[in-house]
Symmetry: C2
Subunit: 160 residues, 2 copies
């Protein structure tokens, strides 16, 4: 439908697509954080769509890659997962051949997690796509402002 039609119809009818005021919401840190997070996650998913990696899966691969002999509990504590929710996530990654679970000799309740060769390859490719994604975010903000943003976000996350 053309804009002229829409405007004309709105003028003659009563209810119409309104210009809505958000009031003080755009000045609220919580509201803006939420909007930004939704936007950035949507862009993340678009940028990494070819790898079929959601943010949570990507972060798990990174943490496993950066720590030798990790256990499921360690990953959960580091990333804030409930262990009950971690089980299906890691099973998916294992079934995709990205992660290997090896029985631990010293404690037979647990397995140590590591990336397979295929997992390392996929993560390396995903990291390149993510680095480009991150670079675009920083370009949008300016590199100095981007560092400042990370510092502010860390301050919000910390503490009581």
């Amino acid at each position: 439908m053309a804009d002229e039609d829409k405007g004309a119809r709105a003028a003659r009818r009563g209810p119409q697509p309104m210009k809505v005021s958000l009031g003080p919401l755009p000045g609220y840190i919580g509201y803006m954080l939420r909007q930004a997070q939704l936007t950035v996650f949507a862009r993340f998913n678009a940028a990494l769509s070819q790898f079929d990696l959601k943010p949570g899966q990507f972060s798990v691969l990174i943490v496993i890659d950066h720590n030798a002999s990790l256990r499921a509990t360690d990953v959960c504590n580091a990333l804030g997962f409930q262990k009950a929710n971690f089980a299906p996530l890691i099973r998916t990654l294992e079934q995709r051949g990205l992660v290997l679970r090896r029985d631990c000799e010293r404690d037979r309740r647990t397995q140590t997690l590591q990336l397979t060769a295929a997992g390392k390859r996929l993560l390396a490719r995903a990291m390149r796509a993510h680095d480009e994604f991150e670079r675009e975010l920083c370009e949008r903000l300016g590199s100095s402002a981007a560092r400042g943003l990370l510092d502010r976000l860390a301050e919000l996350t910390q503490g009581p």
Copy 2:
């Protein structure tokens, strides 16, 4: 359990609570945005718990309060709700006596939304609690840094 016990046991056993490296994650805008949003929303819910208002409900009350003769579609467009998910939310607010839906004379498909007197009173009290909550966030960051943060978040939210 005392720390000494934990440390001693960890030394003699194999697997232990590890110091886990997050690798590059704390340098990623998406990761830090998510952590900060989770933290801030948890604090929001604590600060407004006595009013039984979740962030989405609070934002709906604010938008209705700041716009005369709003329709459901307008609120959905402004706040990014699906209309199917808005229906139960606004019904809850109506049943709590906070919002009034008046049949629209000019378009009988729709109703105009407005706050009841009780809705205005509750929102006013919730706003005072939220202003205090926001003040604490800004204190944590410093007021100049807080303004900068809002600007960066707006830049992330905007555009393609």
